[in-house]
Symmetry: C2
């Protein structure tokens, strides 16, 4: 239900800048800054967002950002990391909760596309602001992206092996499946009448069609 990665519930007053990438309903200043940055980065993009804008949205002075984060990129990194971790965890849970490739694939597509609708701001940051990370941070996040791909590819591979799926090419098909769900973050708008749940359900079925199941 939450977009957050697992957060150690440290009530200890550790003001470390490497703090938890909570993002959920936190009301502490660090969480407010992350939420403000998520909104701004998703709406205007990383470079078009000023640290002053983030600070203002969080109710701080222009320099208030730097009390909690070393750089503007650090804010992007925390959001990107938390988003990737959440997405990976979501896919892994979807697979773990089912026991045939078809059910797993439906669950993956349902949960992944729904997530990109519900959390379309973080989704956009994950998918489109990736290139603005530092080299080190990009490399780290890239590892998570490969894990996400691997989870999906594994389901398709097993479905083909069991004869449940018939596909032309596993890699092509996996990529197209993920594309459908990822692109939701681009076109989703909270104003539209389709709910994230309905989108998830539709994409679960579309995913099965793509593998001939």
């Amino acid at each position: 239900m939450s977009s957050a990665a697992q957060t150690s519930p440290s009530t200890a007053p550790t003001p470390s800048a490497a703090g938890s990438p909570a993002l959920a309903g936190t009301s502490d200043t660090q969480g407010r800054l992350l939420e403000a940055a998520a909104e701004a980065f998703a709406d205007r993009g990383f470079h078009a967002t000023t640290t002053r804008d983030i600070a203002a949205r969080a109710g701080l002075s222009p320099a208030g950002v730097y009390v909690h984060f070393k750089t503007k990129e650090e804010l992007l990194y925390q959001l990107s990391l938390a988003g990737h971790l959440a997405a990976l965890e979501l896919l892994r849970s979807a697979v773990a909760d089912h026991d045939s490739p078809a059910d797993e694939l439906r669950a993956i597509m349902t949960t992944f596309s729904r997530w990109h609708a519900e959390h379309y701001r973080v989704g956009r940051i994950v998918q489109y602001e990736f290139g603005n990370l530092t080299d080190e941070h990009r490399d780290e996040v890239l590892r998570l992206r490969k894990e996400i791909d691997a989870v999906a590819r594994d389901v398709v591979t097993r479905g083909v092996a069991s004869g449940e799926f018939v596909v032309g090419d596993v890699a092509d098909t996996t990529l197209a499946l993920l594309s459908m769900a990822i692109d939701v973050a681009r076109w989703y708008d909270p104003e539209i009448r389709r709910t994230p749940e309905a989108i998830g359900a539709a994409y679960g079925e579309l995913g099965l069609r793509l593998v001939g199941a």
Copy 2:
């Protein structure tokens, strides 16, 4: 073969800033500026690109951009407009060249995904820099986007009517079809071994699967 919209082959020396959004292999200064801007906008994004960088790539002084374009956004607009026109023309031709919904859909998916690979820079500008246009320019381009959607939706609608296609929901399915092709611009990298042609062929078949044909 070309990414350009129809260009009046004006050899007349009209140095108008409203000149042709050629983008093809033009070697005139305006074309060089557009190509330089396309590279920079696609690689770093609109806001992260400086007019000085564009000018340098085109071999001009820092202020050289303003000889040909009123603002940095004007450059983005010309690229976005030309890209949308090219994409729309491509889809219309694909439909015109075939005479059953299945063949039309395969052609649409093949050409659209191939185009997003071959012209992934312009594709990224079209899909992801859209929000950086001025209100007027965004409205104008939005009309083209709706026409693009309409071409695809019409093919799906006719396929359902003729019984060739079986889909859950026409709008959902159309959106998912376009998503697959559009997302190519996000992940495509000229370094990979898959060619734009191979991607097009694969996506043509994937599109048919999605409509149960």
